[in-house]
Amino acid sequence: MTDQKSNAPKVHHAAKRYAQECRKGQLSRREFMTRATALGVAAPAAYGLLGLAAPEAKAQTPQMGGTLRIQMDIKAQRDPRTWDWSELANVCRGWLEYLVSYERDGSVQPVLLESWEANDDATEFTLNVRPGVKWNNGDDLTAEHVAHNIERWCDASVEGNSMAGRMSSISEDGKLRDGAIEIVDDLTLRLHLSSPDIAIIVNMTDYPAAVVHPSFTGDDPVANPIGTGPYRPVSHDTGIGAVIERNPDHTWWNEGNGAYLDRIEFVDLGTDPAAWMAAAEGGEIDMTYQTTGDFVDLLEMIGMPATEAITAATLAVRFNQDNAPYDNVNVRRALQMAVDNQIVLELGYNDRGTVAENHHVCPIHPEYADIGATPFDPGEARAMIEAEGLGDHEFELISIDDDWQAATCDSVAAQIRAAGINIKRTILPGATFWNDWLNYPFSSTEWNMRPLGVQVLNLAYRSGVAWNEAGFANAEFDALLDQANGIPDADERREVMAQIQQLMLDEGVLIQPYWRSLYRNARPNVLNAEMHPTFEVRYQSYGLS
């Protein structure tokens, strides 16, 4: 996936500046990789800017052949752009590929694109489609096909199409804006953005952005598996499992660089990790999709070492500001002050992560500004709650009955209680929880990571957006965010970001206790299957030794 032609001569000017900072130690290498590659600098070139050789992708080449059995939920398939679980995408990764991919080192790598360039103010992106890519029905992949997919992503009239929100800078009235895509030639297209958007390429790494053939309609990519990848589905039974095999009638563009396995069997063993454990003990699975809590160690004990991905995934214990008493900023801030995030991390997530600072921007995000955290002061918290006349009020924290999410909320509530504030804990089963979860006054939402800090803020805290269950509506915040979205240079953006983060703290938007590390366990002979920060199961590059 790295054999693209070098575009080092046209390196984005900001990328060169990042490289300097990275060498000076002002910037971590991971942050540098995310920033530089988002601007269209190829990963080897980006490493080159640092004066380093790109690391060898694989220490050990897997042998050809073999079957890998993976524990993962198998949900009923639907139109890729409406996917709401990474599992849905993972099943199809063998034949539906992406334009670009987000890598474990934080870089964005070209897949079906060969390269891309941004102009200086991030309002125009030129995408170069990889030549020689064929669909498994024999068609060539063209710029037209890519444009068709981008148009599909922009269509907000499709229920649950989450790509529409990610493509807002090229959309208008819920569909692709006229003239937003210019098809230059068969393999080149240009995006004209209505406002600067540094995240547009990074957004195309997200799991609903799978590239489908123009003939794809309806909502089942398994029944109609036309794709560019080396595999094809054999069977797909919701709740039971799915089987994928190498497609013998198709020559993959990346032939020789993957597709080692003959067969991949996904096994859906339900949501109880104890059942996975029993299956692993009986030798029925080789790896887990994701392992949480004590089961990371338990599976290691039975000979399945864990791999870790450090991420900006988190649990947002948010207030809903449309509900009293959480419309009162002092109440929100008081509850924040009653909670020591370090303790929540230890009790709620077994200390498997890093402490966060209640503003939902992570140190691994390139534009993160270190502005300190909410002070921990239970005495002051109690005083503030009493000053608001809520000394006898009983707060209620609602969570789903998921293991670590419930434990995290338990430890948040326990600390609030310890500060002398009445609080009730309610744990709801999934079927009930999801019904009304956007409107619970005080509840928690699991957030997966996004490569850039502005991305989650755009999705979750901008006034009136669909995923804003915090009910946060603040014109100043929106304006600052707009400003940040137009600054391709992360250092300049950091100045705005510092204001944004401070605003999040001043407004007491949420208790965001920690950044999760993610884990996956696999047998020692499974290669290249390390945990991915965005839960990807890229089985086309997995193999057995």
């Binding site: 009923a76 398939q77 409406t82 709401d84 229920e159 649950g160 989450s162 089942d220 039974d237 919701t238 709740g239 039971i240 499992g241 096994v267 063993l269 339900g270 104890a274 059942a275 454990m277 029993a278 299956a279 003990e281 009986g282 030798g283 029925e284 004990m301 039975i302 999934g430 079927a431 999801w434 019904n435 009304d436 979860w437 956007l438 669909a466 995923w467």
Partner: protein, 363 residues
């Protein structure tokens, strides 16, 4: 006899009708429909999108109308599509869009069981496939449970108050007092874990090669049943039912053993094994026979827990999945199946009774 059968079938239909209406009502409460829309169209969709999804999929009609649609006594909903084709309940079930091509009514009476929203498949296919899997499990459960229960019950009831009776009764009470979710977990910990229980011991003694004695997960039994992957789920269900049946057999046996004709036989010098086998057994089996038959629908309860615990996708597992995902038509079909199973086993037990006890007549 025919009248009896007809009455029984009438009761069955009426019960099924009542039960499905209750299930239909509960699964069609507005909040439940909202859950359904969210699981189908994405958990983050807005209220307006929920409303439009429900409208487009025919969920916004009065509940009774839709129950009638499901039964097949009311014509299914239809709507003209923008491209000139038609859509509607019957169009979707038959997978056609040409106007007028689909039948008017398409419910249970016409043989349409509907579509499962959780599995995106025909309900009839889902139910038959899963019932088949449960059938195999139940077959093995009965093969293990019935002989064991009868043996324990008869041995215990032969001589009331003896040491054999006391110890077997204790065993039977203990096994029936342990619910499946307890015995299943204990079994897994004891027999299917490489860290605790007896498997590590057996490995260190070199008795077994693999890391565990039995498999604590029965998923692989779906493709190929082996003693090692099927033993634990079968035993978990069988043990629970066994204790109960054994207790009934014992009670029935002790009662028979105090009868006058048994005493007469003993006085005439018939050997004890002969008395038990030839004179007491048949009379003692009348009560257990009914109980075994009634036990079958009761075991369906246990099947839900055991199938979920051992991830064995059978009928109980499907019931669990359908309930957890508010899969309306699948739940309805499952309740019809449950009613049929309950009443059919009762029917068999009533008829079987006549053959075991000639004094009872069905008329």
């Amino acid at each position: 006899m025919l009248l009896f059968l007809a009455r029984r079938i009438g009761v069955m239909l009426f019960t099924a009708l009542c039960l499905t209406f209750v299930v239909f009502y509960l699964t069609n409460l507005p909040a439940k429909l909202e859950t359904l829309a969210k699981t189908q169209a994405g958990s983050r969709i807005s209220d307006a999108e929920v409303a439009s999804w429900l409208d487009r999929n025919g969920y916004n009609q009065p509940m009774l109308t839709r129950y009638g649609e499901w039964l097949g006594v009311v014509p299914g909903w239809t709507r003209e599509e923008a491209d000139g084709g038609m859509t509607g309940r019957c169009y979707r079930l038959a997978d056609i869009s040409e106007p007028g091509a689909a039948p008017d009514r398409c419910g249970l009476l016409q043989g349409y069981w509907g579509n499962s929203t959780r599995f995106r498949a025909d309900v009839a296919d889902v139910i038959t496939a899963r019932l088949g899997a449960t059938g195999i499990l139940m077959l093995w459960v009965l093969i293990v449970m019935v002989p064991m229960a009868l043996l324990v019950g008869v041995l215990a009831g032969m001589r009331e108050g003896s040491r054999t009776d006391r110890s077997l009764s204790t065993f039977a009470i203990a096994s029936t007092a342990t619910p499946e979710y307890v015995s299943g977990v204990v079994f897994i910990a004891l027999l299917a874990s490489s860290a605790v229980g007896i498997s590590p011991l057996l490995v260190s003694w070199g008795v077994i090669e693999g890391p565990v004695l039995f498999q604590g997960n029965a998923r692989s039994a779906l493709e190929k049943i082996t003693f090692w992957n099927f033993f634990l789920p079968v035993m978990t269900i069988a043990l629970y039912g066994m204790g109960y049946v054994a207790r009934i057999t014992r009670a029935s046996m002790t009662e028979v053993m105090t009868q006058q004709y048994i005493r007469t036989a003993r006085l005439k010098g018939v050997s004890f094994p002969n008395i038990v086998l030839r004179h007491a057994l048949r009379n003692a089996l009348i009560a257990p026979f009914t109980v075994i038959m009634l036990q079958i629908p009761w075991l369906l309860n246990g099947v839900v827990i055991v199938e979920v615990l051992f991830s064995y996708p059978g009928f109980g597992w499907v019931l669990f999945e359908a309930a957890a995902n508010n899969d309306i038509e699948l739940l309805l079909a499952a309740s019809v199946v449950a009613v049929v199973v309950v009443l059919l086993t009762q029917l068999i037990s009533d008829i079987g009774y006549v053959y075991l006890n000639p004094r009872i007549r069905i008329s």
